[in-house]
């Protein structure tokens, strides 16, 4: 398998539960050595797709290739180089962290036993390894889950909502860990989340899903560049300014705001557009007090793409 070949290739993957479509015709290639954020609201089919990718559930239609092997047909070979946390890491609560890893190593085989100490050290659980897992905090269990993933020395890590329930410090630590897997180890990380801020901070590429369908995919910069570009102007005569700007070909929209301010949508926000816009106003005798470029945030871009908030209303209330 060549390095250029995607580590995950999904082609027209659909998963239905009765009449409900959980995953809707998803096609995507995930390149090696990068972190892909799989971003979508709760209930958008993120976990279902991951379960299909890992052979835990069968897609209704479409094909899945992981590490060049078709899943579920060749799932054993495909998963040999994959570590995953799905929904939340589960363990035998009555066994210690180390014992849990030994159980997992017994299944993984190969050099898994020899990797236990290193994996515990990597997630900073060496000192707690002898403690029963039922005494672990959620953050410790998440880290132990990552340690279990590392036992197979995976080239691909699939992490489903890994920062769920973590406090800010725990989330920051988790981000550092995930980035180190990509930057230091050269592993590929596929991380699903409904936390936009989290994904923006750790992912190289982002895929946005809505109602099971992939609606956008690209690097963070690409996604933002595809969004609406605006310039906020403060002028002495908004009415006259709107008339002048309306005659410019690259202006796609004008919205008047309070305090003699206009939000002007442009085809693109760059130096040339800003200069042309300002010159036209000045030449028409409009006084320009302020010009501010406004790049869309990823959240605004998400709203624009999906037309829905990332966090469901009930979650917002919570």
């Amino acid at each position: 398998m060549s390095a250029a070949e995607p580590i995950i290739r999904l082609t027209g993957v659909t998963k239905r539960f009765g009449r409900t479509v959980a995953v809707d015709d998803v096609t995507i290639d995930v390149p090696r050595g990068r972190c892909l954020g799989w971003l979508g609201p709760n209930g958008s089919g993120k976990t279902t797709l991951i379960r299909c990718m890992l052979g835990l559930a069968r897609p209704t239609s479409g094909t899945i290739h992981v590490r060049g092997r078709e899943v579920p047909r060749d799932v054993r070979a495909a998963l040999a180089g994959v570590g995953a946390i799905v929904e939340e890491p589960r363990f035998y609560p009555y066994l210690s962290g180390r014992r849990n890893l030994e159980v997992a190593a017994g299944f993984v085989g190969g050099g898994a036993f020899a990797r236990i100490d290193g994996a515990l050290a990597r997630v900073d659980l060496t000192r707690s390894a002898a403690l029963a897992v039922k005494k672990y905090s959620l953050g410790m269990r998440q880290r132990l889950g990552v340690a279990r993933c590392l036992l197979s020395d995976p080239e691909l890590l699939i992490l489903d909502e890994p920062s769920n329930g973590l406090d800010p410090a725990g989330m920051a630590e988790f981000r550092r860990m995930i980035r180190s897997f990509v930057e230091l180890d050269g592993r590929t990380v596929f991380v699903s989340s409904h936390l936009l801020d989290e994904v923006e901070k750790i992912a190289d590429d982002i895929a946005i899903v809505q109602s099971g369908a992939l609606v956008a995919h690209g690097t963070v910069a690409d996604l933002l560049a595809g969004g609406a570009a605006t310039v906020r102007l403060r002028v002495d005569d908004p009415g006259r300014a709107a008339g002048v700007l309306g005659g410019l070909g690259f202006v796609t929209g004008i919205e008047a705001r309070e305090r003699r301010t206009l939000d002007v949508s442009l085809e693109r926000v760059d130096d040339e557009s800003a200069i042309a816009l300002t010159r036209a106003l000045v030449e028409a005798g409009v006084g320009v007090a302020e010009v501010v470029r406004r790049a869309e945030s990823l959240e605004e871009r998400f709203l624009e793409i999906t037309g829905a908030p990332l966090v469901e209303p009930e979650e917002r209330r919570a």
Partner: protein, 246 residues
């Protein structure tokens, strides 16, 4: 893999150590009762060890060990799915039926480990405690008791594991497995009222026959019947394991 699964079964101290402890304690209680009975009326109860002790050990381990083995087996079948750890075992890429077979081996090993201390103590007491010539134990009698005390719990443990794998819920698995052992299986014996031949192939008569019972189907047929009953429940669990999504 078998060793890893054995670790998970043995690690459930409530069921594993509970079974080991209760059967061991039961053998101690049998010995204490025999000592007390002997000391109260030595003429009528001249022996503590030998046959009386062997009978007591057989009853205690057969019944209590059987109950414990059923609980161990039911949990072996249901726990991983109920706890959510099954997903992570499957994620290692191991063959599901291979894992199920390894779990069966681990379960049988765990049952033997749980009953072993009680049986060892019982055998020791049979020969160490004072006994008269009327209470002598032949090697074949000892062998029959040990075989019975091992086979019955093991058979019901594997059946319980099949039930546990089928139901995927710890409480339901234990309850249904106990119900099968103590209600459904005896009721199946009523088949003999309609057909003696068929009735002899029900689980309890067949098990009784292969563990020294005098009456019933020919031993090969009885053995095949026992294997068939175990295979039936085992296969039901295997189908569920193979088909389920996690």
């Amino acid at each position: 893999m078998t060793r890893a699964l054995l670790r998970t079964i043995v690690g459930r101290k409530g069921s594993f150590l509970g079974t080991a402890g209760v059967t061991f304690a039961a053998v101690v209680v049998v010995a204490v009762v025999l000592v007390v009975v002997h000391s109260l009326r030595p003429g009528r109860n001249p022996s503590i060890g030998g046959q009386p002790m062997l009978d007591g050990v057989a009853g205690a381990v057969w019944l209590l060990g059987g109950v414990g083995a059923i609980v161990i087996g039911a949990l072996a079948g249901s726990y991983d799915v109920a706890q959510g750890t099954m997903r992570y075992l499957v994620l290692t890429g191991v063959h599901r039926i291979g894992m199920y077979a390894a779990r069966t081996t681990a379960l049988v090993t765990a049952v033997l480990l749980a009953l072993g201390p009680a049986l060892l103590l019982g055998v020791l007491l049979v020969f160490v405690l004072p006994r008269g010539p009327e209470a002598g134990v032949k090697p074949s009698e000892l062998g029959d008791v040990l075989w019975t005390c091992v086979l019955w719990p093991t058979v019901f443990a594997v059946i319980a594991m099949g039930i546990g794998s089928l139901l995927r819920s710890n409480g339901a698995a234990v309850a249904i497995a106990l119900f099968f052992a103590f209600a459904a299986a005896p009721l199946l014996g009523l088949v003999s009222a309609a057909s003696k031949t068929l009735g002899d192939l029900m689980l309890l008569p067949a098990l009784d026959r292969v563990t020294g019972g005098d009456d019933g189907a020919p031993i090969p047929a009885a053995a095949a019947a026992v294997v068939g009953w175990v295979a039936l429940f085992w296969a039901a669990g295997a189908v569920r394991i193979r088909r389920d999504e996690y």
